[in-house]
Each structure stands twice: as structure tokens, then as C-alpha cells.
Amino acid sequence: MDNATLIAIASIVTAGLTIALGSIGPALGEGRAVATALSSLAQQPDAATTITRTLFVGLAMIESIAIYCFVVSMILIFANPFWTHFVAEAAGK
């Protein structure tokens, strides 16, 4: 198995695993955040705007982790420097 095949296999498997494992944590975290926000909204409906705004900010911060994993996965598939190096080498041959 030559290097190019190894790089392709590693990139594809890693890209899939990255986004698969990387979205578990943020999804669980966001679920807990929304659940707590809903229960505190039920307890104090007057503070609805503050709670909602804080909820959105918190959700965005949790979501960023999943976005990082997604960006790494996209880089591995579409902008992979190792793969482009090997393609350039094969084209040059």
C-alpha cells in the first residue's frame, strides 16, 4: 500500500470519525442547557428576555466546539495539504 493510498484512507476515516464523535458532546451539552433554561423560564417568566439572550449566547459557545470539528473534517476532505502534495507529485511524474 503506497503512501498516497495510506493518506487517503487516513483522511477519510479521520474526517468521518471527527464529525461523528465531535457532535456527541455539544449535542448533549445543548440539550442540558435548553432543559435548564426552560425550567428556569417556567420558574421566573419575568426574566424571559435575559434568560433567552443568555441561552442563545451559551448555545453559540457550545455550538462552536461542533463547528471546530466540522471545520477540521472539511479541511481533511477538501483542503487536505498532504493529499494535494501527493496529487501534485503524481501529476509531475
Binding site: F56, S64, Y68, F70, V71
Partner: protein
Amino acid sequence: MRLSPDEMIFWRDGFFKLNATIVYTWALMLALTVGSMLVTRNLSLGLTRSRWQNLLEIIVTGIAKQIEDVGLRHPKKYLGFLGTLFLFVASANLCTIIPGYDPPTGSLSTTAALALCVFVAVPLFGIEEQGLGEYLKTYTEPTIIMLPFNIISELSCTLALAVRLFGNMMSGAMILAILLTITPFIFPIVMSALGLLTGMVQAYIFTILAAVYIAAATRGREPRGEADTTIDA
């Protein structure tokens, strides 16, 4: 499959090149500036005003109220910077409904530039409010050991701002492109609507996070009792 509008080049002349990001950014700047100039030509102070003036006033007072809710006490000072951030990102994300348009915020260059603006603005506002010595001292709170961690957190907050906006907009465009090749009929429209929603939410998040960082930098050593715990009895 294009990863970002940076790769679509309209014009090149040696080192300088005009890619889609720059062209669409200029178009947005032109639209926002010319639109506002046209609306604010005859401002009226009375009760009857044109609907465009009404719209702009709603937007401006809405942003000012949000800035004040975050904890910045004189929103007029920060309205220029934060309002511009929100309007630019929101209009850039909203215009994805126009066919043939690629949001410039879907390119890491634009979002990194915006995040760098926030990175520079936060110490500037902090120093303006507290003075240089006091502001630098906040980096050593609660103890001097936290100094490297505070610096790292500044850098990572900036990086997170850039990557968050970029990732959201890029993923929206990419999901649409993929769906158009798989199920080209109703589902891409639903995903496009979702993309619009996340675009607006991300514009709001970017602005609110910038406001929160500025508020943290300008809060200084005020006594804890000043937090708004007033009860309207």
C-alpha cells in the same frame, strides 16, 4: 466543490486580485451606505416620519437597548462599532437569498478580519474607560499566576469568534450545494430557510459576544452591589 468565495477570482493583476469575497463586501458596503444616505436625507423630528426612517430608528434603538442590557452603561459610545458589526454581518448573511451571491462571511478572511477588529477594540475601550495601568492590572486578576491564562483566553476568544461565524456560514452554503445534487426539489429550500435563520442568529451572537467582551474589559473594579438587582415593586 468550492470551500470559500476566496477562490472565485474576478480580476487579477500580478499581486492584487479581486475575488468574490472582496467584490461582494464592496457591494454590501455600497448598498448599506447609499441606502442610509438616501434615508437620512430629510430626517423629521416630529411624529410623522417616513417608514424608512422609522425602520432605521427601530434598528438603532434596538441595538442600543441590547448593548445596554449586556451591561455597558453608555451605549452611544459603543453603538458605532457594535452596530456596524451587527449590520454588516446580518446583511451579509441575509443576502444569501439572492441567487448567485456568496456570503463574504463564508470566507475565513472576512471573519478573521472582523474578529481582529474586536480583538483590537476590546483593549482600546478598556483603556479608554479605565486608563492603561488599571486595564493592564485586570490581566493579573485574581492572581499573577493567571496572567498567561488570561492572555490565552483573549486569543482563543478571538479565534472562536472567527471560526464560529466562518463555520456556520460555510456549512450552510456547503449543505445547500450537496443537497442540490442529491434531492433538488423541496428540501434545499427548507435548508436555505434554516441557513437564513442561523445567519441572523450568528450575526446577533457575534455582536453580543463582542459587547460582552467589551463590558468585561470596561467593568473594572466597581463594587459588586452595582449589578442591577433592583426589584420593581
